[in-house]
Structures are given as C-alpha cells and as structure tokens.
Symmetry: C2
Subunit: 131 residues, 2 copies
DNA sequence: GCTTGACCCTCTAGTTGCTACAGGGTGCAT
DNA sequence: ATGCACCCTGTAGCAACTAGAGGGTCAAGC
C-alpha cells in the first residue's frame, strides 16, 4: 500500500505541512520518492506517524516522542525508562491541573465580586491594580 | 521615586528583557531617559507593570491584558466588557482543566497497565502503537 | 585617576509545534 | 489543452518571552 503525503495525512489526521515538518526535524525518516518527486509512504511510516500523533494527543512533547520512538525500537530493553518518561509527563500534567485550578478559583472569586457599574468602581480592575 | 529598569524589574518580579519587550510591543509606553541613556521609571510605570504582571499570572494573554489596560483607563465606562473578558478567560481555563483531566486519566490508566518487563511487552508502547 | 564589576544599551536569533504563504511542478479528467 | 487538485521547496509568522553578542555607564575602592 503506497500513499502520497495527503493520503497519509488523512489516514492519521495530520496536515501535509506537519508531516513535512516532522521529516525536517528528523522525527520521520525521509521517504522514497515517486517519478514526479512526490513523497511515497507505506505501512511502516503509517505506523510511525500514528504513534507520533497518539503520543502528541496525550500531550507528550516532540522531544519526549522522539525518546519514546527510540525506546520502542529496542524491544529487548527494560521498559523502566518508558515508564519513567510517562510518569514524569503525568506529574507535569497534574501540576498544570493544580495551577489551573488555583487560577480558576481566583478568577471566579474576582468575577463574583463584580456587581456591575462603571470601570471606576469595578472590582475586577481593582483586583488587578496596585495592592 | 525614580527607578532603573533593574529596580523596576525587582519590584515587579520581571526581568529587564521582558520589560523592554513589553515596551517594544507597546504594552508599556517608552519611558524617559537618564543622562547615560538609561530608561527611568516612576510610580505610574510601576503601577502599570504590576497590573500587567498580575493579569499575566492570572493567565490573561498579552492581547487580553492590552484590552484590560485600555478599559481600565476609562473609569466612567460600564464595566460589562471587563466582566465579559474575565468570564471568557475563566471559561477557557475551565476547558483546559477538563482537557488535562481527561489526559491525566488516560495517562494514569496507561501507566497502571505496565507491569515492568521489556519494551517488547510494554503496555505503554503498545497503547501508543497501531490500534 | 584608574580599574573593577555591576549594571545598562541595541539588535538579533532562539525556543515549541506547527501553519501559511509564494512561486512553482505533476497528474488526471474533460 | 486546459482546468483542477494535489505535490514540491523555501521562508516567514504565531506567543511570550529568553539568551547572547558586542558594546556603553556609573559608583566604589585603591
């Protein structure tokens, strides 16, 4: 099964530009070319790109994806490194959730304190102003 | 009270580079200069920069901060616009929290399914692989 | 009065992860 | 043969800074 970049893109929910970008930064190997100099992809590339996209959806950075790809190629290796990478990412996500939740509370309190009127007496602006 | 950029930075928890950046994008007006061509700031700038930093800490974008600053200058105006801006931002934060929470659940499940061993049998790698 | 060190200046380029052109070539159907 | 959808390369842009090069300024200490 041979695909053009557009077909591969549709199969993985990725824009052609993004695929070319992944190639440029070395996340995808340079594929073969057709007579008209079109990139041509097969099953292997489909699998690799799916992996990348899935990991991205889970919020892994491109650097983390790169590491995961490398680790996944070495099937005999202990998977503790993979585990650590995923746990590190989870911790990061949890920290972000905590930060945003604190933010949410502050914003909600600020908004609740505003009872209309003019900017001059607005509690939201006041809350942002000099302490 | 006259300050150099470094002093203003310390007072507001902002790096000098960031202050110059804010000036470049028009968030802070160009300040006066000392004999040696140093930027010199007073109370007004301290207030404005504090406002900016506080809003940034609450996750408002620079464009939103710009709008808030403009609104705050017109004390007689109805504060409904301010309120709407803040509510919009809160909604955005809440959406992000929901997204991250979904992510967190997926990551945690993935990690829980991994019971050690080699990469070849690693459930994390498997979960990322082709469906 | 001269040096040392901390500070300041401008300007440019890098970060992350794409996205959007501009200015072309290819391939297939009509 | 001509239109249209697709492909190619290369560059520039987004947010919100951050870091560095290559200089100038100022106060203190000797």
């Amino acid at each position: 099964m041979v695909m053009t970049i557009g077909t591969l893109g549709k199969a993985t929910g990725t824009k052609a530009e993004t695929i070319r970008y992944y190639e440029k930064i070395g996340l995808l190997p340079p594929p073969g070319r057709s007579g008209g100099n079109y990139r041509s992809y097969g099953e292997a590339e489909l699998g690799r790109l799916s992996f990348i996209r899935r990991a991205r959806q889970l919020g892994f950075s491109l650097d983390q994806v790169r590491a995961l790809l490398e680790l996944s190629e070495d099937r005999g290796r202990d998977c503790a490194t993979v585990d650590a990478l995923a746990r590190g990412h989870l911790a990061e996500v949890e920290r972000k959730i905590a930060d945003l939740t604190a933010l949410q509370r502050e914003l909600a309190a600020m908004i609740a304190s505003c009872h209309g009127g003019t900017v001059g007496s607005c509690r939201i602006i006041e809350a942002l102003g000099p302490c």
